[in-house]
Symmetry: C2
Subunit: 485 residues, 2 copies
């Protein structure tokens, strides 16, 4: 039996490995005393906790979140990490300077009304047209439930609109934009893509030239074929790591996530940042309680202010809906040994490694700064994944404790387990086992290096994560904080 894990020497709780992940008191904790994990207060004991006793949610008072107004935003100047030179991958170079890790045709849609038609067309393209273009990996229909029946001018409506725009500009689509519109919808093509010029790129189903359903499907197929021809001529070439855009996320966290999978991903993030890549972590409700640890890592006061602005926006969004960040943890998180959102957050931000935070993007915005970024998103796995794709993500790293069969059509997803038992149970869903860190079989740096190599391999098409082997492709999930009508 492996020794319990203490993360920080100040901690008075440790994580026992057996029989299941469990947080226990390392010494007697008096009623009212602070309970410390990661060297941080995760709660105040509501009663005396004996040494060795399991520490659950009901034994802790949830502390108030760090007050945003008292953070020192002005005097930050973290040191950059030493560069790692010469790291490359095999990608598809795009005209705008980005690079794809896949060669996909994306079919955008302005409105949900066209979704079923586009899905029928995409199926036919896949079956009848794609086989003639063997260098194209797949066709992705960007269908969604937005575009009409929504308050498109209400506060927050810019989020789903820019998300849909930036999804179409994801580097894995190679700059080949086409869209299907109905015609009478609120989200008109010119509003979705104000800057797109050139050859016709919109099939508008209500146009007079389409005289039956077959005409509509044929037009979508015709537009697609033209783009498939161009995409098919592309080949992978050596690209510098600066063209990687790697999104980090966790889903179904447990008490090990913060000491195995997330720190390993944090080490991979450091390597990627040092190699020149753009890397981002997200999930506002899972960083909110660690914001005081992140502000000092911001590269400038401007970045720190942007980080705090996103926290404040989300606080207000939740309050408006009658909720707060305590709505985040799930039954599985708690079963897995996480007492509350503070403990979950402290483990979650380990994914961000140690690099300075160079930029902050709002939900649906592109991550523009090379290096580590915070991309503000909800923690919902699918909304976070969708917003990271909009940010420009071309490789996704996803850690899980409880286990989830997650996958995306637009980018490879590398799944990292926090426990070896999960990798043993799901050998054909989990790509990397970080549970070896808990048992002492591997160091954080070792698993981190493995994830880093997997990112380069997946980006180069040399190695397919399990989700791709099964075709596990979850649908996009938009974040629309504005009302529907």
């Amino acid at each position: 039996m492996a020794a319990p894990i203490r993360v920080d020497e100040r901690d008075n709780v440790v994580v026992a490995l057996e029989p299941v992940a469990h947080k226990v008191a390392a010494r007697k904790i008096e009623a009212g005393e602070a309970v410390l994990r990661y060297g941080q207060v995760i709660g105040l004991a509501v009663r005396t906790i004996e040494e060795g006793e399991a520490v659950g949610e009901d034994m802790l008072d949830l502390p108030a979140p760090p007050p945003l107004e008292s953070l020192d935003l002005e005097s930050v100047a973290p040191q950059p990490l030493p560069p790692l030179e010469g790291i490359k991958f095999e990608g598809y170079l795009n005209a705008d300077g980005s690079a794809g890790t896949r060669n996909l045709l994306g079919i955008s849609t302005t409105v949900q009304c066209v979704a079923a038609t586009v899905e029928i067309a995409a199926r036919r393209i896949r079956e009848e047209v794609l086989p003639r273009f063997p260098n194209v990996d797949d066709v992705v229909a960007l269908t969604h439930p937005y575009g009409c029946g929504v308050a498109i001018d209400a506060p927050g409506a810019e989020i789903p609109v820019r998300t849909l725009r930036n999804l179409a500009l994801n580097p894995n689509f190679g700059g080949e934009v086409m869209a299907v519109s109905l015609g009478c919808e609120k989200l008109q093509p010119s509003r979705l893509f104000p800057l797109i010029q050139g050859e016709p790129w919109v099939v508008r189903l209500q146009d007079e030239e389409y005289r039956c359903f077959g005409d509509m499907v044929a037009a979508i197929m015709r537009f697609a074929e033209k783009r498939l021809g161009r995409l098919d001529r592309r080949r992978r070439t050596q690209c510098p790591a600066s063209k990687l855009s790697v999104g980090l996320q966790c889903g179904g966290s447990d008490a090990f996530s913060g000491v195995t999978a997330n720190p390993a991903v944090g080490h991979a993030a450091d390597l990627l940042v040092r190699a020149g890549a753009t890397v981002y972590f997200s999930e506002v409700t899972e960083v909110r309680d660690a914001v005081h640890l992140l502000v000092p890592r911001c590269a400038s006061a401007e970045v720190a202010r942007a980080l705090v602005r996103e926290m404040a926006w989300y606080d207000a969004y939740l309050a408006r809906g009658g909720a707060d960040r305590s709505a985040n943890p799930t039954p599985g998180n708690k079963r897995g040994g996480l007492a509350n959102i503070v403990e979950k957050a402290l483990g979650s931000v380990a994914k961000s490694g140690t690099a300075p935070i160079m930029g902050v993007a709002g939900p649906g915005e592109r991550a523009a700064a090379p290096g580590l970024n915070f991309v503000a998103t909800p923690a919902s796995d699918f909304i976070c994944g969708t917003l990271q794709l909009a940010a420009g993500m071309n490789v996704h790293v996803f850690t899980t404790g409880e286990g989830t069969p997650y996958g995306l059509a637009m980018a490879p997803v590398i799944k990292v387990s926090s426990r070896s038992a999960l990798k043993e149970k799901w050998p054909d869903l989990i790509d990397v086992d970080a549970g070896r860190i808990a048992t002492g079989a591997a160091a954080v740096e070792e698993v981190g290096r493995e994830i880093f190599e997997f990112v380069l391999d997946a980006a180069s098409g040399r190695r397919r994560p399990w989700a791709d082997q099964w075709g596990l492709h979850n649908r996009l999930a938009l974040f629309n904080p504005a009302p529907v009508t």
Copy 2:
């Protein structure tokens, strides 16, 4: 050229038929004077409007909505419509007394995390298992973006939860419930379906018995096969019209919708109500401005109070999000000749016919009262359709002016055009042309009777609407007014 259409003798605007639908002043209207259509004020003229001049949105001040607090809710006593005896259809009788118009296997999901897995399993069931059960029409995966990463205890969260519950109980699924759960999600199976007993009905992917992805898919297929066997033994039998549950909706309305398609549907609604069916209209933002016309039709003060309660809830929901009902009309509505939400609403409620309103259901609730019901939903086509399915809908009637290739997997959708030009343009998408009313080629009652007969035929499987012939099956779209986390 047909004469312009005046709906009510008090009206000072009429709808011209040529060259496109256009609302014009029937006489000179002074600045500040009320502009009347359907005998109701649709706005105040912001300047003098000359006789024959087209009346657009910018020429009208939007009036305040009818104040809810001053409506007389207590003294209502509308007369019931005379019954129509002996109307029957051929349906699948269910144990709970309801009847299906289709014989479908529904696979419920508690959480978005299982969606991609369930879709892979559903595809395999359709290809490998369903051919052995020829009396079952199809397999429907009830996938959605809810269940975790959401504030599940926030105000309004009961709406998506009960929607998912009631979708699974739709009569077209024959009472055969099965669900796929991940395990660690917030929306646990016992919370989604507190009342389901009997044989195992949940496949929980995180259970120890599933040791790889193939195990998960095989388990879903095994659960499905058992239910397909029972569904396959069912046959259509004669059912009274009281087992019909018909949802009415409009999407992409134009100036004709309120004088052709919607009144024809209203006449069909009256026939269905007289035959004993449950019929419902919806779309809160499209009835809000006509609520003063609907309250006197409520069968009791209790029903009237429920109707007003739903209006007030939506007013508050929109206000909280920084919007109001004026966010509803689309560019297409305006191009189609609808000046504002008041005019749109007055045309929209024509679908409700003339029967007393017997009941009101909140979003996601089942419609329980035989006769005409108001089922509160947003006007968004897909959210409304999803909520009407949750209300128990087994036939859907959908009117459209601009045209939309709408369809649902769970129930037949009969599409009715407001203009003949649309039916001519899309002969293989529009099922019934109500534009003949505008040209004088058919009376409202005639087209209404035709829709009524189509409902009986579609419910009996004798006639397939176009959407089913193409497999145009839009995805479910949940209404979640609570925050995501």
